[in-house]
Amino acid sequence: MGTMLDDFFVRAVLAGIGVAAVAGPLGCFIVWRRMAYFGDTISHSALLGVACGLVMGVDLGWGVVAVTLAVALLLLGLQHSRRLATDTLLGILSHAALSLGLVVISLLAGVQFDLMGYLFGDVLAVSVGDLGWIYGGGAVVLGLLAWIWRDLLALTIDEELAEAEGVPVMRTRLAFMLLIALVIALAMKIVGILLITSLLIIPAAAARRLARTPEQMALAAAAAGVLAAILGLAGSMQFDTPAGPSVVIAAAGLFAVSMLPKPRYGGR
């Protein structure tokens, strides 16, 4: 291993860049499909995944993927039955899953557990192994996303039209859920489960006005996320502020800048 990776700050920046580069493109679909609250609900259930991983003694990342995916599928099923409005359903599941995670963890007596680290991120504690997880998992997510890109975009335009025109709607939707679950597992260490959604949607929102095609927006969102990670972590070192929230604030700052009047691109 190179000496660079011995520096915890270098590892943190590399982790932030890796996660942001993956979260940006996927976050575009969350924004286009108006699923911000959905993403929030899924990520809140990640704490329950951590708890399950601890109880069952498996890798916490896989615990998170399994539980978030299960919650996403439960949500899809409940949405389909249409007994409650979707936002009510999301509100119930979001807070029930978070509370359940907190309670289960409190029952695990004797386990050393950094709750704040899971809630708000602990990027400065990223290990070389974590980096392998982030870049390996990130490559898988981006590859899968490229694979389903065309179908997912067709679904985003109109699900019924896509179905009528032969797009495999259910399969594509399930693949999208899996990608969200994977990204949450990857991003948890960086910004924590309470702030993951911001890493998905803020760079995407910041990229909107720079882009003329969906692909441009995905690239711009990745770039905005990477920039936010670098700026946020540098700021956190400079001012000794918490790393995860600093990255989110940097992203929000970029979004604010993107909203400034911009005569060169402004025309339609």
Partner: protein, 292 residues
């Protein structure tokens, strides 16, 4: 639930429902539907909101399963579908050209040709969110044509289109039928304009209340029960156009040649809200009144 039609039988029927029923929310959304659409024919399904018009269209497209009866499609049938207005989020940077090829790959020339056929070739690079209602419907029609369909299914094709644009859009649909020899199934809650460009009307309120040529249907007691006694329209006074009708079609009387805007109100509104009478005599009386 779909099986190919025997080729020798009913030669040019594109799609046919036989005793079709669809369930949803614990009830029959539509039931006992017999319907067919043949090549070169415009069939319009009208009916009150919640009467199952869209459900019927979705069943014919295979988007909802048939709980009763069956749907037969001609072998190799290609369907072009134009749903009701799409909800494309403003944050999605999507040009018209990109929308055209979202599920169906086509060359730039093919895209331009299809857009030109519906009169919107100039809009290819425009963001879809910047289109007017009429432009959007024309783009969606062009998009459906790109698939080289045998059958077009149009759900409320003039939704969001201003009054003047409606008639032009219906004319375009009729032209497409003639030029491409398509079968067209149209869904509408719009009683007046739609009928003039239609060969056959199916009046749907969960079941088929009545069916036939427009001018015959509007005299049908079932139709009058559904839409009220003033909802009759004037059709063309051309007996050849009446076709097969299962109700008394012997009432073509007083109608002018092609009264596109016949309408159960006696007036419509200008964009600024002022009243315009369709009946010239009444308009004249009002003018006289105003002048005197």
């Amino acid at each position: 639930m779909s099986e190919p039609l025997p080729a020798a039988f009913e030669g040019d029927t594109l799609v046919a429902a036989k005793g079709l029923g669809v369930r949803g929310d614990g009830r029959w959304l539509v039931h006992d539907i017999d319907l067919d659409v043949r090549r070169g024919e415009i069939v319009t399904v009208i009916g009150p909101n919640g009467g199952g018009k869209t459900t019927l269209a979705r069943a014919l497209l295979g988007l909802v399963p048939a709980a009763a009866g069956r749907i037969e499609r001609a072998a190799g049938l290609r369907i072009g579908y134009v749903p009701q207005r799409l909800q494309i989020d403003r944050t999605l940077p999507l040009s018209v050209g990109r929308l055209m090829t979202a599920t169906h790959r086509a060359s730039a020339d093919e895209v331009t040709a299809a857009l030109a056929e519906t009169g919107v070739a100039a809009l290819c690079d425009r963001p879809v969110q910047a289109l007017s209602g009429g432009e959007f419907q024309r783009v969606m029609l062009a998009r459906a044509l790109l698939r080289r369909p045998d059958l077009l299914v149009l759900d409320e094709p003039v939704q969001g289109v201003d009054f003047g644009g409606e008639a032009m859009l219906y004319q375009l649909i009729a032209d497409l039928r003639d030029r491409r020899h398509l079968g067209i199934l149209m869904v509408s809650h719009d009683l007046h304009v739609v009928m003039a460009a239609t060969d056959r009307v199916i009046c749907l309120n969960a079941h088929v209340c009545c069916t036939g040529a427009p001018q015959a249907v509007t005299r049908d007691p079932e139709y009058l029960k559904l839409f009220g006694p003033h909802a009759h329209i004037h059709g063309h006074a051309d007996a050849d156009d009446v076709g097969d009708v299962d109700v008394d079609a012997n009432v073509l009387g007083e109608a002018p040649a092609y009264a596109l805007y016949a309408h159960h109100h006696d007036h419509h509104h200008e964009v600024d809200g002022s009243v315009i009478h369709d009946d010239p005599e009444q308009a004249a009386r009002e003018d006289g009144h105003n002048a005197g």
